[in-house]
């Protein structure tokens, strides 16, 4: 290596530089948020945005890096939720084995990841709009199956009375602990995706998105790399599903219906899929609108407002809010968003 280009990175980066100033500022603000927020803002806005952001993050991982738009991520989260209800405690009188959370949560996450990988195997031979169609079909079929199956999913009513656990002397159902629990999971998922996007595997997924044929010609098993991406996305969606069932205290077919599936896509598109922060931005916007649009335009028309906002975003900036940021500060955006498509 005689001639390295002058753009070569400095030999040693401090930890601060590696994490990035922007990430640290956001993390500090989010950690201080409970100091100013009421319980309502802490759970219904804060925690709920983080949970939906994680589910959308799992979609962003697949779609942004891998070019695979899966509409079944809410189903994957739902599978984790149902697993928690079946193996943990519920008050529906069906199943509810009462296993401790530290067994139930890993099981739920793995079952969800396995289901996600299976969806990856099924949809592997499709591309673009056909991936959307087949995963939408899977999500729809799963919704109807949970509604009609009573032996496992307890049909239409689903499971109720599912509670976040108590441990380390903390009741994690309480607003502030639950917010920090969600924040912790979300930060881990966000950091993993951000770091992983520049890992060997992360690069292979982006290369498969750009040119699967060439990846095959370089010795990569493209199918395996895609399925593994679904598996990792399933872990994130599964963890979010656990949080979601603790947040709602219940899980039923209504949690995973088609409009919920599309909601996940809307969040990802509004936020932008070039960087893992996008889904969280989108989640905050959508949750705020879903919560307060009723006050502005009434319960009948709040979806119209969300729809209009979605149209405006797509029309003004196909890359979502992140793309908007890119237009205002192109030089900054190019640096921080480089790893995206």
């Amino acid at each position: 290596m005689t001639a390295l280009a002058p753009t070569d990175k400095p030999a040693a980066q401090s930890i601060l530089e590696k994490i990035g100033a922007g990430n640290i500022v956001v993390l500090v603000l989010l950690a201080l948020y409970p100091a100013v927020a009421s319980d309502f803002f802490l759970t219904q806005i804060g925690a709920y945005s983080l949970i939906l952001g994680m589910i959308s993050l799992s979609l962003m991982l697949l779609a942004g890096y891998g070019g695979m738009v899966s509409l079944a991520q809410i189903s994957v989260a739902g599978i984790a939720g149902y697993t928690v209800a079946i193996f943990g405690l519920n008050n529906s009188g069906v199943h509810g084995f009462g296993w401790p959370f530290w067994i139930v949560v890993p099981i739920a996450t793995l079952v969800a990841a396995g289901a996600s990988a299976l969806i990856g195997v099924i949809s592997n031979r499709t591309e673009g709009i056909y991936t959307i169609m087949i995963t939408l079909a899977i999500a729809t079929a799963f919704f109807y199956f949970t509604q009609q199956n009573y032996s496992l999913f307890n049909g239409f009513p689903g499971y109720t009375g599912i509670r976040a656990p108590e441990f380390w002397g903390v009741n994690w159902r309480d607003p502030m602990p639950f917010y920090y629990l969600c924040l912790g999971f979300a930060v881990v998922a966000y950091a993993a995706v951000l770091y992983g996007s520049r890992s060997t595997y992360g690069l292979t997924v982006q290369a498969v998105r750009d040119n699967p044929r060439r990846m095959r010609a370089l010795g990569f098993n493209v199918t395996a790399h895609k399925v593994v991406a679904y598996f990792y996305a399933g872990i994130i969606a599964g963890l979010a599903g656990v949080l979601l069932v603790w947040f709602n205290g219940r899980i039923s077919p209504g949690t995973i219906n088609v409009s919920a599936a599309i909601n996940v896509l809307i969040i990802a598109v509004i936020g932008g899929m070039r960087h893992p922060i996008g889904p969280f931005l989108g989640a905050v916007v959508v949750v705020l609108m879903q919560t307060f649009a009723i006050d502005i335009v009434g319960a009948e028309r709040f979806n119209t407002l969300i729809g209009l906002f979605f149209l405006v975003i797509v029309f003004v900036s196909p890359d979502g809010l992140l793309g908007l940021w890119g237009r205002i500060k192109p030089h900054l955006a190019q640096e921080s968003l480089r790893s995206g498509p």
Binding site: S199, T200, Y201, L203, T204, R214, R216, A217
Partner: protein, 261 residues
Amino acid sequence: MAEISVASRLQGSGAYALELDGIARHFGALVALSGINMRIAAGERRAVLGSNGAGKTTLFNAITGDFLPTAGRIRFFGEDITDLPPHERIRRGLRRTYQISQLFKGLTVLDSIFLACRGVSRRRFSLLRPSINDVNMVQAESILNAVHLESDRDVLVATLSHGQQRQLEIALALAGAPRFILFDEPAAGLSPTERRDLVAILNALPKHIGYIIIEHDLDVALRVSEYVSMMHNGRLFKEGTPQEIEADPEVQEIYLGGKHG
């Protein structure tokens, strides 16, 4: 690494790098290839010439496994690879480039070559970021130099010029200890200067790497090959040294329109 030990075991066994026995490929009623027999020694550099539609790229696709031949067997360094999937053939040291660049537009130049090196090693699923001292990263840097792209190492592939993309196309094929490379019109769309660079890059390849080059530009093809096979309508119809081929009246009639020379 396993693939290197395979290479060393076959070295000196006198095996051919590539043996094609009666390769045929039909697309419905269309006969794209028929009865192709070819023996290429290890380290040999062969040009395949022929007019458009002669079946040259189809032959490459059959060798790499992009699709299976309708009939015939393919042996690579003595091993029958006819039924192997493409990525298994690559792991045995077979590489190709494409007539139309097949690159990763969203990655940087260095990351692309790094992945190409990683493709035939373990740790393809590693969730760690590669360090600058990673063995595949070091290989990628040296390939970067070999194809004269060192000043563009951190540039997004989508922003490269056409000529640079053709250089990267070659770089991807050089990654990960190749033993035999199929070059599909590497000079397509290059300027005269870039063509001279290309000839220099090809002639500077390590001697143990053999290749087949498809090339319409005879000035390039005849300067980088030791032996020439002519194809016409899906068949091989003439073989010889570059001098013999250039002087052959029948070749001049079909391929050069009788005007070359």
